[in-house]
Subunit: 454 residues, 2 copies
């Protein structure tokens, strides 16, 4: 159980101490052997919430557990569900971190640690905000539920089933999530849309074992060669995706949408600086923000074949594989996209190799109506906390569970970003601005107030 | 120092015991941290040779040491240099070995261990053959030199310089090497030609760090995508190499050459069985033996990019790399081929990524005149030992040092194969037929006899 300050309000230092504790858990959901650490992290959250006035449980899901907590019941007030996740991405390549991923460090006003911005910093801000209100005011302005899962980074495998099973307990009027980005430091951001996702692994199998590339080279199809030929067909030379039917049903952006994106305070130069690339590039006839926010993609996330150590090993590898993810926009579905890609690869597969296609997780794209009463309340809370009106952003990432909430609970989700550009989610030196912990706490308080009077 | 039998002749069991000792050394030359083990292996050879009547030294080369040994001087007789190597390929993927690579095991009449056929079994047969002759006859029929290097698997980096420095000591009339294949079990084989080799690593660098593939995907060139596009250009869809100028100067085979290859007792079905591929394939209008023996190749030996662990990690990788080797035939040179490939890649490199090209080792192709007096003596020795006239083979592998011998010592090299098909050089479950140890010993004895009276 975390040490818990006894004073009537949390000093910021105590908040930071708790965040550091939270960040030290190596809660990497994709690695099966990290299951005990996942459980310890969930139990820590349960203790924190119970100690702060909630009724919290570590709930079995069939996979990594979720933390579910209810605040005191207040009749006649709306019910708000705050969703987040305590699982994080792996820290590899670990050697590229300035300080170790699971030993939080402060540099230049930022907290560096895996999960700092995705999503431990933001979800902890919400928890601490609720606890602070309870301590200071004695009551929350709404009925509050926390649902903090442990499988967001692996596609929320078991959460839909969990929500279905506990639907009556999770019934709510609106959902709020801080797992998205801000358009700039200190710039409040409400996300209007998220891309969906579909994952696939392609494995090309050739000879039964690695062969000597001299003794057999030239007479046996090299699986790595077969794989690069297949993968190279995914995109035309101009950057468009070449899979037949891939863009079917993808609606071209309206002029208004294009203008709204162009008006955001995000500069191409900033993207270039943050990524360090020579030049930004992508599908022709679209801007960077359009390519990220409203256009689908096909990305290679990993390649593996043959010898990867020091020096040379003259093998003709027996297998070659690639991990792929596709980002989807409205009117695309994961299963249809994976079908199209599989048909495409099968069509082009050389007869001299075997090909295995392993489908991974999928998530639907999502769009929010920012002019709804809930959307307007979120806009007011962001404005009150940050002192300026929020940007309406179209994000490239995916939070598939948002669509699941819509389907299973029938509730709209508000995406209030707390991670500014440069937060390096999923990458070495992931970080979170120190000030965003306190801002996040105050945003939570303002949000509940506005939602109560929507 | 190996335990050394005191009886007048080696019982086969003692020979086998020595081979097992030799195979237990993890003499992997490509791994810098294996240097001490390389030294121990060289010292073991030195002790064996000294104990058997040679004057042996472990000679510094600037890299892994070479073992150099001279037999008793006999005036008026030709000098024969036997070349081999005690270094081996890495054992990875180690999990695919039936028994561990460095714990020799006997199954179905074969010795399984890394290096069993490439090249510890064959070179030890030569050593034991010479020692047996010395013990049994009291003298060798020729002046005999052993040169056993430790860097064959990494391109014999320092050997040319070593030969240059010790040229007077290494002067010889002919060289014999058993580091090639047999066309079938029990089928004596003299290799007429070897392909050359040129190695290259291509590294594509994109963003300065792995990016979130949702947050940035679509607006940043994925280095893995850039790499697969480049690599896919190496071959046309029909299997021909597409690098302009690659086939310049490559002489088409004569009808006689094609007929000689077609007459060898190697069946396409055997290649297919040994490799386990669905079908053999390669450059159009050539047979399997032609594709391996007389045509150049471009092979991907390894691919690396992004996330390669369990599950999914939605990164846009910051880099992607490939290890390549090209097998060369007469009139091609490593430097010219690497020039052509680099020009080709640079021409097709997208402007949005950086590309690093690292040149590796190179070796010239080699052709032997099998009708020379030395060649004819080798044919007779093979015939005497195996009881049938040898096949004249064109091998796909590379032994660059053979060309170096020609250049620096001016001597022809005889390539007498002791590794039958299925020996799995460079692959898991590498093996060597038990009987080939004794056959190799007798071949060595017959060879020296025939070379003495050429």
């Amino acid at each position: 159980m975390p040490s818990f300050p006894e004073s009537s309000s949390f000093p910021e230092k105590a908040d930071l101490y708790l965040l550091f504790e939270f960040l030290r858990f190596r809660s990497i959901s994709t690695k099966p052997d990290h299951a005990p650490e996942m459980k310890r992290c969930a139990a820590w959250l349960q203790d924190l919430l119970n100690g702060g006035g909630f009724k919290a449980e570590v709930a079995e899901t069939g996979g990594h557990p979720a933390v579910l907590a209810h605040g005191p019941k207040i009749a006649g007030r709306p019910t708000v569900l705050i969703y987040g996740h305590y699982d994080v991405q792996p820290d590899d390549p670990a050697e590229l971190w300035t300080t170790p991923a699971f030993e939080p460090a402060i540099r230049n006003g930022h907290i560096f640690a895996r999960g700092a911005s995705d999503d431990k910093g933001p979800i902890l801000a919400h928890i601490l905000g609720a606890i602070r209100t309870l301590r200071e005011e004695g009551a929350l302005p709404v009925n509050l539920i926390f649902l903090i899962e442990g499988e967001e980074e692996v596609g929320s495998t078991h959460l839909a089933e969990f929500i279905r099973a506990r639907r009556s307990e999770l019934r709510c009027d609106v959902i709020a999530v801080s797992d998205t980005g801000m358009v700039g430091p200190g710039y409040p951001t409400l996300t209007q849309s998220l891309r969906g996702i579909a994952a696939m692994e392609v494995v090309v199998n050739g000879p039964v074992l690695d062969l000597h590339s001299g003794v057999f080279g030239g007479a046996v199809m090299n699986p790595a060669t077969a794989l690069v030929h297949l993968l190279s067909r995914l995109h035309n030379d101009d950057g468009r995706i070449a899979v037949p039917g891939f863009y079917d049903n993808v609606t071209p952006p309206t002029l208004m949408e294009r203008e709204a994106l162009a008006a955001l305070p995000l500069k191409e130069a900033d993207f270039q600086r943050d990524t360090g690339v020579l030049l930004l590039t992508g599908e022709p006839d679209f801007t960077t923000l359009e390519r990220i926010g409203i256009r689908p993609t096909a990305e290679i996330n990993g390649l593996t074949s043959g010898y990867q150590g020091e020096g040379t090993k003259t093998v003709l590898p027996s297998r070659a594989s690639a991990k792929l993810t596709f980002r989807l926009v409205p009117n695309q579905t994961p299963s249809r996209v994976l079908d199209l890609v599989e048909i495409f690869f099968r069509h082009h597969q050389p007869p001299s190799v075997e090909m295995e296609i392993i489908r991974g997780h999928g998530g639907m794209p999502y769009t929010l109506d920012a002019r709804s009463p809930w959307g307007a309340a979120a806009v007011r809370a962001l404005e009150k906390t940050f002192g300026r009106s929020p940007a309406l952003m179209r994000e490239g990432g995916s939070i598939p569970i948002v669509q699941t909430f819509q389907d299973l609970l029938g509730s709209e989700t508000l995406l209030l970003g707390l991670a500014p550009p440069g937060s390096r989610a999923h990458a070495p030196d992931e970080n979170f601005p120190l000030e965003n912990l306190e801002l996040g706490i105050r945003l939570h308080q303002a949000l509940l107030t506005e939602l109560a009077v929507r």
